[in-house]
């Protein structure tokens, strides 16, 4: 055997060895990327079970194996200050109930609550661009988002969750995003009447990126859906679930910082949400509106 042939044989042997080592090292990860947490049959069975409870799943669900971790958040205190500067710069602070501080300006009233919630009530409404057709959802949200952009860069992480209409009034519900996942604890709600913004409620958070080592596999969406049905009980009227998403949610705390668990959030057509802890399957909060 000459040297060239020996080299070729050794190259083949080491190539094989390296492939074997790579398979042992990364095979598991690759398999996980491709495997699903919920099979099509399982999903069909869950849909049937939900229907028995009176819940209709009318949205796509994430069937992949998902991992997540607790998200540490703190209130973004600058939001309140920004709103005060923007709308009631000259107003003097007044004490409100439960430690709240109110600023009563000519244009608006800003209410800052101790836990971090800020509310602006415009005295005669804030005008949105004239060309907006109030009945057109797309135009209405675009015009409002333009207004948000002017308000500050923090709200670029806001995503429209859903829109509610009551005659001449509309309520836009935005949620905060963290790395493309909704952080439901952070929200922005706009109250509109015709083309005028009447009030704004903002509770914004500063999330810390969790360490990858802390990530754990979450429960499949089908398990969360069945837990939801179990907690809410059978519905006499059929209720449509229009969104099923993995995000983060916890109730508000009057605290410095806290950890928010990943949740499966199910949104009903009437605007009600149900949050199921994606690690434990416990109900995080029965109903929020």
């Amino acid at each position: 055997m000459n040297l060239s042939r020996a080299k070729t044989l050794l190259i083949c042997a080491f190539l094989g060895l390296n492939l074997l080592l790579c398979y042992h090292l990364f095979g598991g990860e690759i398999r996980k990327l491709t495997r699903v947490a919920v099979s099509a049959a399982e999903l069909r069975q869950t849909v049937r079970q939900l229907e028995d409870y009176g819940y209709l799943l009318e949205t796509k669900v994430d069937r992949a194996v998902r991992k997540s971790a607790f998200l540490t958040v703190a209130p973004l205190w600058e939001v309140g200050e920004k709103l005060r500067e923007e709308f009631t710069a000259a107003a003097a602070p007044e004490s409100g109930p439960s430690g709240a501080i109110f600023y009563d300006g000519d244009e608006a009233k800003v209410k800052l609550y101790p836990a971090g919630l800020a509310r602006v009530e415009f005295n005669s409404g804030q005008a949105l661009p004239d060309e907006v057709s109030f009945s057109n959802d797309q135009e209405l949200t675009s015009a409002f988002e333009l207004f948000l952009q002017e308000l500050g860069p923090a709200f670029s992480e806001a995503r429209l969750d859903y829109l509610e209409r009551y005659g001449e009034e509309a309520v836009l519900h935005y949620v905060q995003l963290f790395e493309d996942m909704p952080l439901y604890s952070g929200y922005l709600t706009a109250f509109l009447e015709n083309n005028r913004l009447q009030a704004l409620e903002i509770y914004w958070l500063v999330p810390d990126k969790p360490l990858q080592e802390k990530e754990m596999e979450v429960i499949p969406v089908t398990e969360a859906l069945l837990k939801m049905a179990e907690y809410l009980g059978p519905s006499t009227q059929p209720r449509r679930i229009i969104k099923a998403e993995l995000g983060f949610y916890s109730c508000e705390y009057d605290a410095e910082k806290w950890e928010v668990p990943p949740v499966w959030r199910f949104l009903f057509e009437d605007g009600e949400s149900c949050f199921i802890n994606a690690f434990t399957g416990n109900l995080e909060r029965e109903i929020s509106n």
Binding site: S4, K7, N18, L25, M216, D254, K257, W258, T280
Partner: protein, 443 residues
């Protein structure tokens, strides 16, 4: 040229295989293996046996027509109680020792013990194992030379004298003979009836009470908060730590919760687990004591100076008793009860804790020398004046004793001597030197 390329590729593959082998051998563990939280039982200390869960609230030794109250923490207290406890454990069936006659006229009271909570007796207990189930609230030892009689009290009912076995009689007589009292422990028994006070006041004493006599001396004490191992606490309460989230409060407090149970750590601990998984089952008194003691030992431990003060069964629906128990422990400093916001309060059932609050302090050092405090008559007179100012007209004294009261806030905790008085159903605390309510006390 091709040979050179082959050599380079081979060299690269050899290097890569070494690297991958190293990674496989020593590389980091997969995430799942890191976060897997295998259940390892964690607790602070082994549960105490029943014989160590209840100790007398009051232990009085009579000698030469004087009485001396020995307080917890005193070596004599431990010695007397160990011997008496041993005797009660040896005497299985009290009925076998019934004397059947009246006590001899020259027999003298030599020991008096008061149990609150009651000392469990009966088949489930270690004391008087063959007696019917019940709880002793008191025990007196009478003596005539080397013969001793015991009189047991269950609730309001006083039993007939028991002639103690000869060896125990001699042993107890010797113990009393050897006892050398200190002046500090001198006490006086106020008999039930009218008691004249300085400045023409009178109170009615509902039942005999032991009060410190002579010129009692006490000193201010500087305290330090109990330091518990936070990591161990978390492991004790939460089986799967990876599901526990942390909330940092504005006042520096830390809350840990897994959605079902919550633990708050800040100047002590508060724990709550409102959801009861299993239906609670009723427990006998000894079993309730053992369960409470076990939970205390597991979750934080049982410091030496801590005494069980009360154990009650919660009232359930329609006046029936629920299978939930409430226990309270308090610390003793230099033998005196520490009052104020310093206690362990626990609500539990057979399966575990429902609520648990623990805020304990340890003696750091004594501030200054012992000083003489006001005597009980002056304290009673001051209490009566306070109540009179609030429009109370009848004064029925139920209990009074010297104690310590926690003051100074969480940063500089200290204990000041006080008179703790229960009069006409009201709890009064008066600084033992000035006879005024201490700062921060309101009732």
């Amino acid at each position: 040229m091709i040979e050179r390329v082959k050599s380079a590729v081979l060299f690269f593959l050899v290097l890569l295989s070494i690297l991958l082998t190293y990674q496989l051998w020593y590389g980091r563990k997969p995430v799942e293996r890191v976060i897997t939280n295998g259940y390892e039982p964690a607790y602070f200390e082994e549960p105490k046996p029943l014989s160590q869960l209840v100790i007398p609230k009051c232990l009085v030794v009579y000698q030469e027509n004087l009485c001396y109250r020995i307080r917890p923490g005193n070596s004599n207290y431990k010695h007397f109680w160990e011997e008496l406890s041993r005797m009660l454990q040896e005497i299985d069936e009290p009925a076998n020792y019934e004397y059947g006659e009246k006590l001899p006229a020259d027999a003298e009271l030599c020991l008096n013990l008061i149990f609150d909570p009651a000392l469990p007796v009966g088949p489930e207990s270690v004391w008087l194992k063959n007696a019917p189930s019940g709880g002793l609230t008191g025990m007196q030892i009478w003596r005539q030379a080397d013969r001793c009689w015991g009189i047991l009290q269950e609730g309001e009912e006083t039993g007939r004298p028991l002639l103690l076995p000869a060896q125990w009689g001699a042993h107890l007589a010797a113990l009393c003979e050897q006892f050398s009292p200190s002046e500090k422990s001198l006490c006086e028994q106020i008999q039930a009836g009218e008691l004249q006070l300085p400045r023409n006041g009178t109170v009615t004493v509902s039942a005999p009470i032991y009060v410190p006599a002579g010129k009692p001396v006490m000193a201010d004490l500087l305290l330090k908060a109990e330091a518990l191992d936070g990591e161990l606490l978390l492991n004790t309460f939460f089986i799967n730590r990876s599901l526990v989230r942390e909330i940092k409060e504005k006042d520096g407090g830390l809350i840990y919760t897994d959605g079902e149970q919550g633990l708050r750590l800040h100047h002590g601990l508060d724990y709550s687990c409102p959801r009861i998984e299993q239906k609670p089952v009723p427990l006998s008194y000894p079993a309730a004591l053992l369960t409470g003691g076990k939970l205390l030992c597991y979750y934080g431990g049982w410091p030496e100076n801590l005494r069980l003060e009360s154990l009650v069964q919660e009232a359930g629906a329609r006046g029936r008793q629920a299978e939930i128990y409430q226990a309270q422990w308090r610390s003793y400093l230099k033998g005196y009860l520490l009052l104020g916001d310093a206690e362990v309060a626990m609500t539990y059932h057979h399966g575990g804790l429902v609520d648990y609050r623990r805020k304990l302090y340890e003696l750091h050092y004594q501030k200054g020398d012992d000083t003489v405090v006001q005597d009980y008559r002056e304290a009673l007179a001051a209490a009566v004046e306070l109540l009179a100012a609030k429009g109370v007209e009848q004064y029925i004294l139920e209990e009074m004793d010297l104690a310590y009261y926690l003051t100074g806030g969480p940063l500089q905790p200290r204990a000041i001597p006080v008179w703790a008085i229960r009069i006409s159903g009201r709890e009064l605390i008066l600084e033992a030197s000035e006879l005024i309510p201490p700062e921060g006390w309101e009732k």
